[in-house]
Amino acid sequence: MGSGAPTFECSAGCVVMTANRVRTLALIVVAGALLAVWAFPVLWALLTSFKTERDVLAYPPSLIFEPTLSNYRDVLFGSASILPNLVSSTIVAGASTLLTLLFAVPAAYALARLALPGKRASGFYVLATQMLPPVGLIIPYYLVLQKIGALDTYAGLVVIYLTFSLPFAIWLMVSYFEDVPREMEEAALLDRAGRWRALWFVILPQVRGGIAVTTIFVFLNAWNEFLFAVVLGGNRVRPVTVAMFNFISVEQTLWAKLAAGAMLAMAPVILLGLIAQRHIVKGLTVGAVKGGGRT
């Protein structure tokens, strides 16, 4: 660039190109560093899950070792199998998600559209329940569930999860419904769709991104929940988060099995995240720009 007699256009072009390349490189370095910090524990757990318990405790930690699948075999099919717990988690998270959507979607639609008395106040109180620290609720919830005999039942735990997921889901969905122009719904009403078919054929297709985001958030929250599960669950209802905790005992911690269990527990989460990546990013920015969340 500096040698010879470059034409004006070329030299300007080269400067711009170099600047761009430097910026791209810097971005890659920064992103790489951040990614490494985030990914390190995950990758370490992944490595640990393929080690024997003896290799795990080796010091300095060995990066080169003979991988084994025995941890996975034990965790899945051994005496301390977490398979029933994965099923338990699936039931709890699945039921919470389904019920949440079943109630949250119509509720959010009503809050966004209909002129209900006290709408503004109810909108606030829906969110206010999110502000309570969960720990403060454990004892009352425990007593209530005990009184009605719902401790260690799926129904009991799912209902408790609903008290958290419903307000959150409603709050999230309202902004999506508000983004749908009112005239579009009116057009559907005039086209003789009626309110239910207008909702189904015209409104819901336009908030499907919001439904995807809500589904994922609610499912993940329920799947990852530990505190309520460990207190309100028991021998019958024991989600995988609680089961993994049992690998840690007073005498010893079975790191390799814990890691293998964690990998298995994470798999659906990561899978879901990958599938819905596009929707999640869009969902987090919805409302930033008027109509920016929809396509």
């Binding site: 005239e183 057009a187 559907a188 009403l189 005039l190 086209d191 003789r192 769709a193 054929f201 015209v202």
Partner: protein
């Protein structure tokens, strides 16, 4: 469409002719009254414009007609039948919204087919009707596209096709041309008129553009502050505006209004005494209205000073200062005056419009 059908064999069709009646419609938003008792009759097949400035209640009236807006008092009649409490979908009316309100997740074909699918029309019949409607508005080559892939004008046509596809008894158009650019607006205006003539469906058209209303409509209702101040054929409203406000709203440029006084059967304006052919009525303060085209520069008359000449090519608008008031004069030729020059203006006696100064009502 229905006018030519023999009355004896088409009783049911006659019933759906699209006759509109609105009786004493009152609409309040809290303490604010948006509509103060609207009475309106629209004949079958008529192209009827609701004209008025923004906030005058014309769109609210249209939405009440559609059933999208609840009302506080009054009745809505369609073909003599009280539909006040009917849902929008039960009224057999179609509407084109200002924003078009197309369904963005459906193709143009599905958008147009939607109203037919909602009433469980057989598939081949839908196909035929959609192609027919799309052909009428010339978007039959765009049926596979999504609304987002259409230009503004094409979206507008798609909305029109969705309205005409199910052959309703009434079209409601809410400022359908306002989102189009000026050239397209003029073209579409003409096409809309032709389309309405061809279909013969009663059409209620909301606009704030007086020129649009005057050129497109069979009859016009002029809205001011939640009231209908005048209903009539465009030429009648132009010729005899009912109030000074209507006079100032209609025409381009609108009518000149000057403060004047009637004393002893003569008209006193800007220090000049005029003797109209027809007696100007009782003594009192009046507003004198004269159309720009009715004014001419003359050797004698009301004194004025030329402020500005606007050459429009085929005609010229002369801005005049008459006793401190702006008066516009429209001349077909290039008038032989210069800016800053003092002149006199005159007008024929029958070009005078006199309005009561206090009430604004025509004398």
């Amino acid at each position: 469409m229905l006018a030519g059908a023999p009355a004896a064999t088409s009783v049911s069709r006659e019933q759906r002719a699209g006759r509109v009646g609105m009786r004493g419609i009152v609409k309040r938003h809290g303490a604010f009254t948006a509509l103060h008792g609207i009475d309106l009759d629209i004949e079958p097949g008529e192209f009827f414009a609701l004209l008025g400035p923004s906030g005058s209640g014309k769109t609210t009236t249209l939405r009440i007609l559609a059933g999208l807006e609840p009302l506080n008092e009054g009745r809505v009649l369609l073909d003599g039948e009280d539909v006040t409490d009917r849902e929008p979908g039960e009224r057999d009316v179609a509407m084109v919204f200002q924003s078009y309100a197309l369904y963005p997740h459906m193709s143009v074909y599905d958008n147009i087919a939607f109203p037919l699918r909602m009433i469980a029309t057989p598939k081949d019949e839908i196909e035929r009707a959609v192609r027919d409607a799309a052909g009428k508005v010339r978007i039959d080559h765009l049926l596979a596209r999504r609304p987002g892939q259409l230009s503004g004008g094409q979206q507008q046509r798609c909305a029109l096709a969705r309205a005409i596809v199910r052959k309703p008894r009434l079209f409601l158009l809410d400022e359908p041309l306002s989102n189009l650019d000026a050239k397209l607006r003029l073209e579409t205006r003409v096409e809309l008129r032709k389309l309405q003539r061809a279909l013969g469906v009663t059409t209620v058209y909301v606009t704030h553009d007086q020129e649009e209303a005057m050129t497109i409509a069979d009859r016009v209702a002029v809205f001011m502050d939640g009231r209908i101040v005048q209903v009539g054929r465009p030429q009648d409203i132009f010729a005899r505006p009912a109030t000074a406000v209507v006079a100032a709203f209609i025409g381009s440029p609108p009518m000149n209004l000057l403060e004047a006084e009637v004393r002893d059967g003569a008209l006193h304006v800007a220090g000049v005494v005029l003797h109209p052919d027809t007696p100007p009525g009782d003594d009192g303060e009046v507003t004198l209205g004269v159309r720009p085209a009715a004014l001419r520069i003359a050797p004698t008359g009301v004194p004025a000073r030329v402020d500005l000449l606007e050459d429009l090519g085929d005609s010229t608008i002369v801005d005049l200062d008459v006793a401190g008031h702006l008066v516009k004069l429209r001349a077909d030729h290039h008038p032989n005056v210069k800016e800053g020059e003092s002149v006199h203006i005159a007008f024929a006696s029958d070009a005078c419009h006199l309005f009561d100064r206090r009430t604004g009502v025509r004398r």
